[in-house]
C-alpha cells in the first residue's frame, strides 16, 4: 500500500472508531466505582507489602550497625542474635503477639482474639495477611533494638528467651494501647488522642527502654571502665559496616514511615520528605555537635545522629510540615550526642547507643508530634503525648527489668568473664567470623 493511501484508510478508521464510541454509554467514575475501588485496594496491598519488605531490610541495617560498632570476636554472635530475633519473633508474633495487639479488646488494655492468625480463613479476605506482614516487621524492629545495647556479653540462650518475650508480650500489649484500632482492637491510649503515626514510642521507645533495662542488669563490658572509673573506649571493628547499616536503615525507614499509611495515597509524599529531612538534619547537627565538642567530626556520633533524626520523625511524620521536620531532626541530633555521653558517664554501657537513639529520641519525637502539630499547638495533646511516653517507659522498663532479673537469677544473663574475653563467637558458637584475618583482641580485654 502506498503511504498516502495508508493515511486515508487510517483516518477513515479513526472516524469509524470515534462514531462507535460516541454511540456507547461512556463509563464514568461513578458507574465504574467498583472497578476503581478494586484497583485502589490492589494498590494498597502492593504498597503495604513493598513497605513491609523495606522494613524487613532494616534487620540487615541493625545487624551491620551493631557488628560494626563492636569487636570482631563477637561478630558471629551478633549475626545470630539478629537472625534469631527476627525468626523467633515472627513465630511468637504469629502465635501470640498479633492477637494481643490487634485482637478484639473490651477494655482497651489487651486483645483477646486473632491468635495464630486465626482471622484468616481460606478464601476469606487476605487483608489480614498483608497487615500481619507489615506488623510483624515492626515487632521485629522493636526486638532487635535491644540487641545492640546488650552486645558482647549476653548469653545467647538467655537472649532468645528475652526475644520471644518482647515479640509475644511486651511489644504487642503496649502496641495495642496505641494502635489496636488499626485492626480489630481498641486501645485506651489512642482513644485519648495519642499521636504515634509510625511508632516513635510504640516501636522505638519500647525497644530503647527494654535496652536500658538489659544494659543495667548486665552491667558494663569488661574493660569499659578502668579501676578509677574512667571510660576506656572499646572500639568497633568496622566503621564502613556500621555506615552501611545506617544507610540501609535510612532506606528501610522509607517503608517504615510512609508505609504506615497502609494505603497507596498521596499522603506518602510528605511523609517521605519529612522522614528524609529529619534524618539529614539529625546527621548534620550531630556531626557539628561532635566537631565542636571533640575537635573532630566524629563518625560514630554522625551515624547515630542520622538514626536519631529518623526515630524522632517516626511519630510526627504525617502531622508536621517539612520545616518542622528539620527542627525535630536537629534537636534529635544534639540530644543523641549528649545522651550517649550521659549514659557512658553513669556507667550504663550501650555499645551502639541504642538507648539514646531509640529510647530518648523516641520520647522526643512523640513529644514533638504535639509541639509541632500542623493544626496548631494544644496543651491537651501535649498532656496525652506525655502520658503515652510515661506509660511506655513504665510498662516496658519495669517489665523488661523484671524479666532480665529473673533470667539473671535463674539461667544467667551474662557469659563468664573468660568467655567474654575470648569472644562470644568462640565461646557461644564455636566459630570465628574472620578466620583469614588477624584479630587484635589482645590489645584489649
Amino acid at each position: 500500500m502506498k503511504p498516502k493511501a495508508f493515511i486515508y484508510v487510517f483516518i477513515l478508521a479513526l472516524i469509524g472508531i470515534g462514531k462507535a464510541w460516541a454511540g456507547d454509554e461512556g463509563p464514568t467514575p461513578l458507574t465504574n466505582k467498583e472497578a476503581i475501588d478494586l484497583v485502589q485496594t490492589h494498590a494498597d496491598y502492593v504498597w503495604t507489602l513493598i513497605a513491609a519488605a523495606l522494613v524487613f531490610f532494616m534487620q540487615a541495617g541493625f545487624a551491620m550497625v551493631e557488628t560494626g560498632m563492636t569487636r570482631a570476636k563477637n561478630a558471629i554472635n551478633i549475626m545470630m542474635k539478629n537472625l534469631m530475633d527476627f525468626s523467633l519473633g515472627s513465630l511468637a508474633y504469629w502465635a501470640i503477639g498479633f492477637g494481643l495487639m490487634f485482637g478484639v479488646s473490651a477494655t482497651g488494655w489487651i486483645g483477646t482474639s486473632g491468635f495464630f492468625l486465626s482471622d484468616y480463613t481460606s478464601g476469606g479476605d487476605p487483608w489480614v495477611l498483608a497487615f500481619w506482614m507489615f506488623q510483624v516487621v515492626f515487632a521485629a524492629t522493636a526486638a532487635t533494638i535491644v540487641s545492640g545495647a546488650m552486645a558482647e556479653r549476653t548469653k545467647f540462650s538467655s537472649y532468645m528467651i528475652y526475644s520471644v518475650a518482647i515479640s509475644a508480650i511486651i511489644y504487642p500489649i503496649f502496641g495495642g494501647w496505641a494502635w489496636g484500632s488499626l485492626f480489630n482492637g481498641s486501645g485506651w491510649l489512642e482513644k485519648l488522642g495519642f499521636i504515634d503515626f509510625a511508632g516513635s514510642t510504640v516501636v522505638h521507645s519500647v525497644g530503647g527502654w527494654a535496652a536500658l533495662a538489659g544494659a543495667i542488669v548486665l552491667g558494663p563490658r569488661l574493660g569499659k571502665y578502668d579501676k578509677n572509673g574512667n571510660i576506656k573506649p572499646i572500639l568497633g571493628h568496622n566503621m564502613p559496616l556500621a555506615a552501611l547499616g545506617v544507610f540501609i536503615l535510612w532506606l528501610g525507614w522509607f517503608g517504615f514511615n510512609p508505609g504506615s499509611t497502609t494505603a497507596a495515597n498521596k499522603d506518602i509524599a510528605m511523609i517521605f520528605v519529612n522522614t528524609n529531612l529529619s534524618a539529614a538534619a539529625g546527621c548534620t547537627v550531630a556531626m557539628f555537635t561532635s566537631w565542636i565538642k571533640f575537635g573532630k567530626p566524629e563518625v560514630g556520633m554522625s551515624l547515630n545522629g542520622a538514626l536519631a533524626g529518623l526515630v524522632a520523625i517516626t511519630s510526627p511524620c504525617a502531622t508536621v510540615t517539612p520545616t518542622s521536620s528539620i527542627i525535630i531532626g536537629a534537636v534529635a541530633g544534639v540530644l543523641v550526642v549528649f545522651s550517649v555521653l550521659f549514659f557512658d558517664k553513669i556507667k550504663i554501657d550501650d555499645p551502639v547507643g541504642a538507648i539514646s537513639v531509640h529510647g530518648v529520641n523516641g520520647a522526643w519525637g512523640t513529644l514533638a508530634a504535639a509541639l509541632f502539630h500542623i493544626d496548631g499547638f494544644s496543651l491537651k495533646v501535649v498532656g496525652v503525648q506525655l502520658l503515652g511516653i510515661g506509660s511506655c517507659f513504665i510498662w516496658t522498663f519495669v517489665l523488661a527489668f523484671i524479666l532480665f532479673k529473673i533470667i539473671s537469677k535463674t539461667i544467667g544473663l551474662r557469659v563468664s568473664p573468660q568467655e567474654e574475653a575470648e569472644g562470644l563467637d568462640f565461646a557461644e558458637h564455636g566459630g570465628n567470623a574472620y578466620p583469614d584475618f588477624e584479630t587484635s583482641s589482645y590489645t584489649q580485654q
Partner: protein
Amino acid sequence: MKKLEAIIKPFKLDEVKDALTAIGIKGITVSEVKGFGRQRGHKEIYRGAEYQVDFVPKVKIEVVIDESIMNDAIDVIKKTAQTGQIGDGKIFVLPVEEAVRIRTGEKGNDAI
C-alpha cells in the same frame, strides 16, 4: 655480611624500596608492625571518649647486604624515609653469620 632492620613510616615504603633497588640491593623482606618510641603513640576519639593509641602502625624492612655497601644503604634509607617529623623510625645494623640460598645451596655473599 650485615643485616639492616629499618622501622619506617608505612607510606615511605615504596620510596625506600625504589632507592634500595637503585643501589643494587636484590632482596627485601617487609612486615607490618606496631610499636612506639619517643613519640609515645597518639590520641584518637571514639564516640566522644579520647583514648591513647600506644602502638602506632609501622613497616619493618629487613635487608641482608655485603658490608661494602652498608653505609650507602643506611644513607639511602635515612634520606628517603625522613620527613623530619616525630615517628620517622630507626635503622638497626646486625651482623649476619651465614646465608644459604635454599634452591641451590649457595652460601655467603652468593646467596644474598
